[in-house]
């Protein structure tokens, strides 16, 4: 699943570590989601969307 996490994070000037701390996950998780190697669970996707004050669809793109 494609996502705009890296772009959104860069716009706010956050490092991967900053974002990881805000989401209370490891930096590896942020990295894996950004590079598309891992699709987060629905609760984590909601947390990410809430943090960026967006909808889930605004952060993640449906590949289908």
């Amino acid at each position: 699943m494609k996502n705009h996490l890296r772009k959104l994070r860069a716009e706010r000037g956050w490092s991967q570590q900053d974002l990881a701390a805000k989401l209370e996950v490891s930096r590896q998780s942020v990295n894996a989601i950004e590079t598309g190697r891992y699709d987060p669970s629905l609760p984590l996707a909601f947390r990410i969307a809430r943090l960026f004050e967006m909808t889930i669809e605004g952060v993640f793109e449906d590949a289908a």
Binding site: S15, Q16, V25, S26, Q28, R37, Y38, S41
Partner: protein, 143 residues
């Protein structure tokens, strides 16, 4: 577990518990070996001593399960689960190949105690590969 690279509370707890368990394992292995060598034990006591060193090893598998239960980071949980599957696959493949070799040939097969070592090596390699893959998308060096 994703444990060398990342220090979540669960992974620290896992490392501490595993270190204690493995220390206990070393003590039990040397203790039982010494006991069996220096005393001519028979019957149930000998069986009990023979099984004793396996208990910390079994407990270390239980600790992996507890880590998966306690880890709150879902990606690290998935990563560790993948590694456990790789270790289990390597172990099962070894058992199947070993059984056929022993059935059809005169070979004695895989030496004793190799099973858990094979699991651990495959598990460790899977962890290492995933750790290296994690670094590929890094923007900043690991803390």
């Amino acid at each position: 577990m994703g444990l060398c690279e990342t220090s979540t509370t669960a992974s620290k707890r896992y490392q501490r518990r595993t270190a204690w368990t493995m220390s206990g394992y070393v003590l039990v292995v040397f203790g039982t070996a010494w006991e069996v060598r220096h005393h001519s034990l028979h019957g149930w006591l000998l069986y009990l001593l023979a099984v004793l060193p396996a208990l910390p090893v079994i407990f270390s598998v239980v600790l992996m399960g507890r880590y998966l239960q306690e880890e709150t980071d879902e990606y690290l949980r998935v990563q560790t689960t993948r590694s456990i599957l790789v270790g289990t696959a390597a172990l099962l493949a070894t058992i199947v190949v070993n059984d056929f070799i022993r059935s059809y040939t005169e070979a004695s097969g895989v030496p004793p105690f190799a099973g858990f070592v094979i699991f651990c090596v495959a598990f460790g390699l899977a962890q290492m590969v995933q750790t290296l893959r994690n670094r590929s998308g890094d923007e900043e060096p690991s803390a």
